[in-house]
C-alpha cells in the first residue's frame, strides 16, 4: 500500500498546482536559446537536490522520530534559502494545497499535525516538507520518497519545456530518462544530509533569471 500511496502523491494528477510552474525555465526561454537537459541537470544538482529534496529527507526523518521542532526548522530554513518571492510563494502555495488534499485523503496523524502547525502560522508549509511529512506517515521509505520526488520535479520541468515549445513530446521523455543519473546523484546527496544547516541552493544565474520573471510582461507560468 505504501507504494500505491507514493505513486498517487508523486503523480502529476495529484492536485498541487505544479503545472503552473516552470521552475525558472520560462525566464531562460524568454531570454534566448536554452539547453533544457543541461539546465535541468544543473538545477537538480545545485537547487532541487540540496534544497527541496534535502528538506524532504530531513522532514521525513524528523517526523518518524516525532521531532516537530526539527520539522519546523527544516521548513523555515528551506523558506529562507529561496531567494525570490515567486519561488517562495510557489513552494508554500503548492505545499499548503497538497497538505489540505493529502490530509483529507490519507488522514494520517502526521499530516493533521502539520495542518495545525501551518494553520497556526508556526511553519510555512513548503511543498517538500509537506511531502516528507506525508511519506513518513504513509510508511514510504526515505530513499524511494526522495527519488520519486526528484523524478516528479524533472517530469514537471520537461512538461513546462513542451508548453514553452523548447522540446517536443518525444524529446521530453528522452530528456526525462536522461536525467536519471542526475536524479540519483541529487538523491544520494540529499540522503547524506544530517542537519537543517545542510540545506542550501547555489544557482545565482537561475535566481537572477527568476528575478527577471517576476517583472516579465508576458508569461504562462507562475515561476
Amino acid at each position: 500500500m505504501s507504494l500505491l500511496a507514493q505513486l498517487q502523491l508523486a503523480d502529476s494528477a495529484f492536485p498541487g498546482g505544479l503545472y503552473t510552474l516552470s521552475h525558472g525555465l520560462e525566464s531562460y526561454a524568454q531570454a534566448g536559446p536554452v539547453d533544457v537537459a543541461a539546465l535541468l541537470e544543473d538545477v537538480l544538482l545545485h537547487a532541487a537536490g540540496p534544497g527541496d529534496a534535502t528538506a524532504l529527507v530531513l522532514a521525513h526523518r524528523a517526523v518518524r522520530r516525532d521531532d516537530w521542532d526539527t520539522v519546523v526548522a527544516v521548513d523555515q530554513r528551506l523558506h529562507a534559502i529561496k531567494l525570490n518571492r515567486e519561488l517562495r510563494a510557489a513552494a508554500t502555495r503548492t505545499g499548503n494545497q497538497v497538505l489540505r488534499t493529502a490530509a483529507t485523503v490519507f488522514a494520517t496523524p502526521e499530516l493533521l499535525r502539520l495542518v495545525e502547525l501551518t494553520g497556526a502560522g508556526a511553519t510555512p508549509g513548503n511543498h517538500a516538507v509537506v511531502l516528507g511529512t506525508a511519506y513518513a506517515g504513509l510508511g514510504v521509505a526515505e530513499d524511494g520518497a526522495v527519488t520519486g520526488d526528484l523524478y516528479a520535479f524533472a517530469a514537471s520541468w520537461v512538461s513546462a519545456a513542451v508548453r514553452l515549445r523548447r522540446l517536443d513530446f518525444r524529446q521530453a521523455q528522452a530528456t526525462l530518462y536522461g536525467a536519471g543519473p542526475a536524479i540519483e546523484r541529487a538523491a544520494a546527496a540529499a540522503l547524506a544530509a544530517r542537519d537543517p544547516l545542510d540545506l542550501y541552493a547555489a544557482t545565482p544565474i537561475a535566481d537572477t533569471m527568476s528575478c527577471a520573471h517576476e517583472r516579465a510582461t508576458a508569461r504562462l507560468f507562475t515561476t
Binding site: M1, S2, A5, A13, P15, G16, G17, Y19, T20, L21, S22, R93, T94, N96, Q97, V98, R100, T101, A103, T104, V105, F106, A107, T108, P109, E110, L112, V115, G137, L138, G139, V140, A160, R163, T217, A218, R219, L220, F221, T222
Partner: protein, 224 residues
C-alpha cells in the same frame, strides 16, 4: 504503514475560503467575462457586499490590469489578483484549482471582510466547468459575435452552468446573429436552467445577473 479507513472530519480542514461565497465566470476568449465582472462589482458593492476578484490570464496580466483600471476608485486594486495557469486554463478551475484556492486564501488573509470572491477563468472552450470546491455558482458567458449557432453546439459550459449569459446583444444585428434563435436554443439545451441576455457595457441585463447571484448566495449559505 499507517492506514486510516476514514478521512479526517472536514472541520479540521475548513478555512475562511470555505465560508466565502465564490462565483466562477468562464467562457470563450473575448466573450465579455472581464466586462461582466467589471459591471457586476459596483452592483454587488452597492448591495452591501465586500468583493475580491481573481483573474486567470492566459499569458499576461491584461485582464487583472484591465479590471484594476476600470474599477479604479471603486475597488481597491489590492483586492484584484492575477493567477498564471501554465497554459492550462481549464485545469486551473476544474481538475486542479490549487493555485486559485491559494490566491483566494491569500486575499482573505489580507482582507478578512471579503464575503464574495469572483473567479474569472482564462478564455477557453465550451467544455469548461468549475470545480465545486472553487465556485459555489458557475456562470458561463457566450457572446453574439461567436455566431448564433453557439448554444446549439452545447458542451458542458453551455448546458451545465448555473447561469448562461449571452453577451453583446447590442452587436447582434451587425454579426448576423438572431437573438431569438440563440435564446430559444439556449433554453432548449439547458432544459429550463436560467439564461440572461446582456450588454455588459451598457448594463442591460446586469441587475438580473446580480439578482441571480444573490439568490444563489442565499441557497448556498442560508445565514447570509
Amino acid at each position: 504503514m499507517h492506514q486510516h479507513a476514514h478521512p479526517a472530519p472536514a472541520t479540521h480542514l475548513t478555512t475562511a475560503l470555505d465560508r466565502v461565497f465564490k462565483v466562477g465566470v468562464g467562457g470563450p476568449v473575448g466573450s465579455g467575462k472581464t466586462a461582466l465582472i467589471e459591471a457586476l462589482v459596483p452592483i454587488l458593492l452597492r448591495r452591501g457586499h465586500s468583493v475580491g476578484v481573481i483573474t486567470n490570464d492566459i499569458y499576461t496580466q491584461e485582464d487583472a490590469d484591465h479590471v484594476r483600471r476600470t474599477l479604479d476608485g471603486v475597488l481597491d486594486p489590492a483586492r484584484i489578483m492575477g493567477v498564471e495557469t501554465g497554459s492550462c486554463p481549464h485545469t486551473a478551475v476544474r481538475d486542479d484549482p490549487s493555485m486559485n484556492l491559494a490566491a483566494g486564501a491569500e486575499l482573505l488573509e489580507r482582507f478578512g471582510d471579503i464575503d464574495t470572491l469572483l473567479y474569472e477563468s482564462g478564455g477557453d472552450n465550451l467544455t469548461l466547468t468549475f470545480s465545486p470546491l472553487l465556485a459555489d455558482v458557475y456562470v458561463f458567458v457566450l457572446d453574439t459575435g461567436e455566431g448564433d449557432k453557439m448554444p446549439r453546439k452545447r458542451g458542458p459550459g453551455i448546458t451545465d452552468s448555473d447561469l448562461l449569459v449571452i453577451n453583446k446583444i447590442d452587436i447582434a444585428p451587425y454579426v448576423r446573429a438572431d437573438l431569438d434563435v440563440m435564446a430559444r436554443d439556449a433554453d432548449r439545451v439547458r432544459e429550463g436552467r436560467p439564461v440572461i441576455l446582456t450588454d455588459a457595457l451598457r448594463g442591460t441585463g446586469l441587475p438580473e445577473v446580480a439578482d441571480f447571484i444573490t439568490s444563489r448566495r442565499r441557497a448556498c449559505s442560508p445565514s447570509a
